[in-house]
Subunit: 330 residues, 3 copies
């Protein structure tokens, strides 16, 4: 593929390069060699524009030139993605349909074009849509529903029992946690992709839902009855308790935790390791444990890191005030 | 089932409804329709008593009436559980015994009534009790022991090697972490249920133990040699290091972490995301990182969120004290 | 084995015991009986030297004597490890080579002496070295590479797709997260051991790398393109975002999180639950969220826990200053 062809395919403008340069693949700025296109998506790496061996670099329209030819575009990260699709493409699966080493219950249904890897289990009456990919050892419990184009990476579990127990003492027994039947299911809507080892509870009643287009990284846990909206981005190790309503376009950074029964509005963003304990209105950005509006959190954590100096200032004040009082009274 | 029959089955009193109303299932207050019973277990939803379409609602004895018939009972959450058992029941497994797509070592023993799903692995000399359920892709390592009525959800691992290495430099080598044989096992006592993807290390010596009746949610990790008492409740993503002694009826909220070699008394409760770094006497409630008694933590976190205002007050004090000093001296 | 033979095997000196005492196994100080050797590796348990029933205890050279015979050595924890190897040894696998219930793609290669348990999946063109152990239900995606003597515990996933999406609005569509092909792989170098349920992303381009001799505990997640150095120790539930460069001999305690694109020097140590948001120079110890140098963190968290008292002192100062001002003006 020539640089011109690539530029046209990804909607970019060639600046400072020869359009007939051959491009065969994508590489990072540091590792790229001749014949490769690279990209600048993080300002941290801008200095590498001076030294990269790439034949061209995808950048934003307002990027300043360097010695390397540029591919200027309105959305360089999406253009980079398009270049990846053109030059590398997606995984070719080693088999089609349901692999014989998978176990799909005879009462389950699986849509056309869906690929099910070895070791996958699909329970009774589960419904898997079209063009899904279930990687090895994924488990889908009975009665759960996957939409179309759902991708579940290795070892995900969908629809195991939620954490529901009634703690009660029966006559003549010790206090025990009595299991509540989990009679609902889990529904994973179209175009959802979950990383490795994610766990989505089935609901006690009704459905736990992961909304259309939402993406999880690895080891994300979702409690029973929680309903996650559309087009969310949940980074690794996010843990949501049960019965939460999460809006659309919500971004949760790594290791965020969320208490049960909350309402989280659309376009809420939560910083890494934060603990969300209250409802969040649409559009808010929260940070910290307990999670606060980002502006407050920035100020709080700035002072937090200066706490020893604060204590010193209080001690000095106390000393000075005592002196002043002594003089006063003396 | 009539409302009267249900009331008798769950030990409740019908208030304000016709005893011969037919009830076929349970639903949330919001989603219930005629013929369904609902429940009020969280004060947050009390207003829904006014609008629910349920034919009856299970409530506490002291609940105030609304337009909807009530089922009054001393322990409404347990009564709700009983209604779930009567009207929905527990999962019916699609097969009995050991599924042919599971792998149980010939030297392992499996009790009567136990259901082992496809993809499960049970290692040499492991002992699985009666009436257990091992969901797909659960792994039980060699020599581990499960009591009766143990339920392990998908992708749990029981008895893999603990994190034991001796860091040492041998002559002529770089410093390396030398693996310590993990010669103990893991023991899961009667009536334990673990959520999806939990990981319980085997002990270096002796046993890692999960005590009778304890329940974990998803992705809980237990270090080698830790002994968890009876009837605990560990919410998702709790991580315990090794050699901890945890008492009975201990509740750990989501994402709690605990350092090694601690002693945690009976009936200790720890708030979400807390980091426990010291022994905890029986009956204490801990919150925060580092975990503090709940009362202290509440005060600490209240001031924490006001830190910027605190800094302002210190600045004003400094200014005022300087003025006072100046006047004094002036 | 006699005490003398054991002492010689582990490089220790017998102090206060009979060299011909028979020793058959290792046990903790609390549980040891006659014929067993124990060890003191944590000062917390020193008092047990007085009461242990062990026939000998491995201790440091400078340990004070008790009634029990001692095995004195320069590195007692390594000596304990050696005793474990001599007296207990490592797991004997119930089969050799690739178990028929594993699925290894015909284009993958597996080195001599490697043991692959039931339920393991190894994808197209993956390369597994010699003397590895892949426990049940481990998944190795296409094109990933494992060195020699790599041990992966149950349910690990190596080389699933990293969390890469370009968020973009196409004409006539809603804003969506467009999947970026993950064209790189994951490389696990020699002598790495990963606990149960770990998840190592494949890189978008190039490789995610876990360096030689590094050990993870359970449920550790590593983002795409991150390169972990040699001989690291990552405790359970550590989560690293993508594109991080981690040096050699780095120790991360439980539940540590790390933001993307950081550079972490050699021999960095991070305390439990810390959130690392900045580069860390070699040799530093970090604690807290946000992670701070350990000395600062100790001071900060000490004051943090006294925040309510701090507020009281400020209130008293305000009152006293007002009095002083009043008197002044009065």
């Amino acid at each position: 593929m020539t640089l011109n062809e690539l530029a046209e395919a990804i909607g970019a403008e060639v600046v400072g390069g020869r359009g007939d340069t051959a491009i065969d693949s994508v590489a990072t700025l540091e590792e790229a060699r001749e014949g490769q296109v690279s990209f600048l998506s993080n300002a941290r790496y801008a200095r590498l524009l001076e030294t990269t061996k790439a034949s061209a670099v995808i950048v934003a329209r307002n990027a300043r030139g360097g010695p390397v030819p540029l591919l200027k575009t309105a959305d360089p990260y999406y253009a980079f993605r398009q270049a990846m699709v053109k030059l590398h493409g997606f995984r070719r699966h080693p088999h089609q349909g349901i692999h014989p080493a998978a176990h799909v219950d005879p009462t389950a249904t699986v849509g056309e074009g869906t690929v099910i890897y070895p070791g996958v289990y699909v329970g009774p009456r589960a419904k898997i849509g079209r063009d899904c990919v279930l990687y090895p050892n994924v488990v889908v419990y009975d009665d759960c529903v996957l939409g179309d184009r759902v991708t579940l990476h290795a070892n995900c579990s969908i629809g195991h029992d939620g954490f529901g127990y009634a703690t009660h003492k029966l006559p003549g027994e010790e206090v025990r946690h009595h299991k509540i039947p989990q009679a609902g299911n889990a529904v994973i809507e179209d175009d959802v992709e979950l990383g490795a080892g994610c766990a989505v509870d089935r609901a006690t009643l009704g459905s736990t839902v992961i909304g259309r287009g939402t993406k999880f990284s690895n080891l994300v846990a979702i409690g029973h009855g929680t309903r996650v909206g559309r087009h969310g981005l949940f980074v690794a190790m996010v843990g949501l308790a049960g019965s939460i309503k999460v809006g659309d376009y919500v971004t949760l950074a790594g290791q965020v935790g969320m208490a049960g029964h909350l309402e989280i509005g659309d376009r809420v963003t939560v910083g890494a390791q934060s603990g969300v304990m209250n409802d969040a209105p649409a559009g808010t950005t929260l940070v910290g444990t307990p999670a606060m509006p980002a502006g407050q959190a920035r100020r709080v954590y700035t002072v937090f890191q200066q706490l020893p100096e604060l204590l010193d200032r209080i001690r000095k004040l106390e000393q000075r005030v005592e002196e002043l009082g002594g003089k006063k009274e003396g």
